[in-house]
């Protein structure tokens, strides 16, 4: 069975021809950062970085929401999950993320009511079905996911559901790209911007970044053919001395984005300064629950502490999220840090660079 809108972008012939194209275009070394962890996963899974010409280096970016959720927020979720008469609902990949003492999986094993949900609306249903329990949805995500979170809060408000709230760690991509470019250590020549984030948010905001920093940005999809086309477009710009935003993922993204989704996000959430695990504080990079809906804010409802930027000793995930180091540069990689016993969040999520390298590159790095 062929998978429409997937298989046609995975053909080896298509990919090989793009690699040849890139080899012809690229006359100099270029470093390109893929901003999204989903793209990192595809690149490592399909070995795209290994079939590119030697002068093209891919740098893995910070676009993994699980990875950048502060440890202090994980600790807050763990604190909530251990309370009686409280259900903590979250996406499955949050369970193994290390807090300062333990992870959500351990709390669940000790009897905490932690439930994995597919959608924020499923968490709302748990609240609707269990009015005697407090139900908290642990909402992490980038622009792709905030509209779904916003809808759950909006519906809770509409229906007058009083036992539902949300612990949020929601972040936006453009301020993170600006923060990376502001670092004097960065060596990035171009960006692949995240196709699903831009499906929601559009790409007008990236035009200012491209202009101000003189850096090409190509909105790119997630299949191997998409990523190779995005790279070809980006490298062509670099070779021609251009620095604009181009859109590779035209089958899903337009400049304005999804306005219905943006409208709901702006209704329920408001922009805030935000701590990123491994990266520190980035101004205006987060989305928190707006005043009108603050009764649904778990941080206020349960009096949880402020965010902090602590990290486990020995974990270099901050440098990995900024593209300064690769997972195989870490002395802990595959030794003291493995997916079943991770030191840092980049080893947990399938979008984390360390987890992708562990899954697809372990033997090479050991060799």
């Amino acid at each position: 069975m062929t998978l429409k809108y997937m298989d046609e972008y995975r053909s080896a012939e298509l990919c090989n021809q793009y690699v040849e194209c890139i080899a012809t275009i690229a006359s100099r070394p270029w470093k390109i950062m893929e901003a999204c962890g989903g793209q990192t996963h595809s690149i490592v899974k399909y070995g795209i970085d290994q079939i590119l010409p030697a002068n093209i280096t891919l740098v893995h970016g910070p676009g993994c929401p699980v990875c950048v959720t502060p440890m202090s927020t994980i600790d807050a979720a763990i604190d909530l999950a251990a309370r009686p008469n409280l259900v903590l609902c979250t996406f499955g990949d949050m369970l193994r993320v290390p807090g300062s003492q333990q992870d959500l999986m351990a709390v669940k094993a000790q009897g905490g009511d932690v439930r994995i949900v597919y959608s924020p609306l499923d968490a709302l249903k748990v609240a609707r079905d269990n009015p005697q329990l407090e139900v908290v949805f642990f909402a992490v995500g980038f622009e792709t996911t905030t509209p779904a979170n916003a809808m759950a809060v909006f519906q809770a408000h509409q229906e007058g559901i009083t036992n539902f709230s949300m612990l949020t760690s929601q972040v936006t991509v453009p301020p993170a790209l600006r923060a990376i470019l502001a670092s004097p250590h960065h060596q990035i020549n171009g960006f692949l911007a995240p196709g699903h984030v831009c499906t929601i948010a559009g790409y007008a905001e990236y035009e200012a970044i491209a202009r101000e920093h003189g850096i090409p940005i190509v909105v790119t999809g997630f299949e191997p053919g998409d990523i190779l086309q995005g790279l070809a477009m980006c490298i062509l710009q670099l070779e021609q001395g251009r620095a604009v935003v181009e859109n590779q993922y035209t089958r899903s993204v337009n400049r304005e984005g999804n306005q219905a989704a943006q409208g709901m996000v702006n209704e329920v959430f408001t922009v805030t300064d935000k701590m990123w695990r491994g990266l520190g504080q980035i101004n205006h990079s987060g989305m928190r629950i707006a005043k009108k809906y603050q009764v649904f804010d778990a941080e206020l409802r349960f009096g949880l502490g402020p965010e902090s930027d602590q990290e486990n000793a020995g974990c270099i995930s901050g440098l990995i999220l900024q593209g300064i180091k690769k997972p195989i540069d870490c002395p802990q990689f595959g030794k003291n840090c493995r997916p079943e016993r991770p030191l840092g969040a980049t080893m947990v999520s399938s979008e984390g660079a360390c987890a992708a390298y562990y899954r697809y590159r372990r033997q090479e790095s050991a060799a």
């Binding site: 429409k4 046609e8 275009i25 962890g37 609306l121 809808m151 021609q240 035209t250 979008e351």
Partner: protein, 88 residues
């Protein structure tokens, strides 16, 4: 987490824009998803599905862009490889 997969809309239910849902097949499993953010979606469309929501309707007319761009670029490669380094 931003993982989203294309899926064909099999049926629709509801008229209210914010609560309209649709059935899609995800790897053979039928799933109801919210169509709140794709008011234009119709039965037979492919939508990108993420955490129970359709994020966009895939634009059929743009589906071949990956192949088309390759052909165009290949056709202009002799020119590009000569002039590539000169512009900057």
């Amino acid at each position: 987490m931003c993982l989203s997969v294309p899926a064909k809309l099999i049926s629709l239910s509801g008229d209210e824009p914010l609560t309209r849902t649709g059935k899609v097949s995800l790897g053979g499993v039928l799933k109801d998803i919210s169509l709140a953010y794709v008011p234009e979606a119709q039965v037979g469309d492919y939508v990108l599905v993420h955490v129970g929501f359709a994020l966009s309707v895939i634009d059929e007319s743009e589906a071949q862009f990956v192949q088309e761009y390759l052909r165009q670029t290949q056709a202009s490669l002799p020119i590009l490889s000569e002039t590539g380094g000169e512009a900057s």
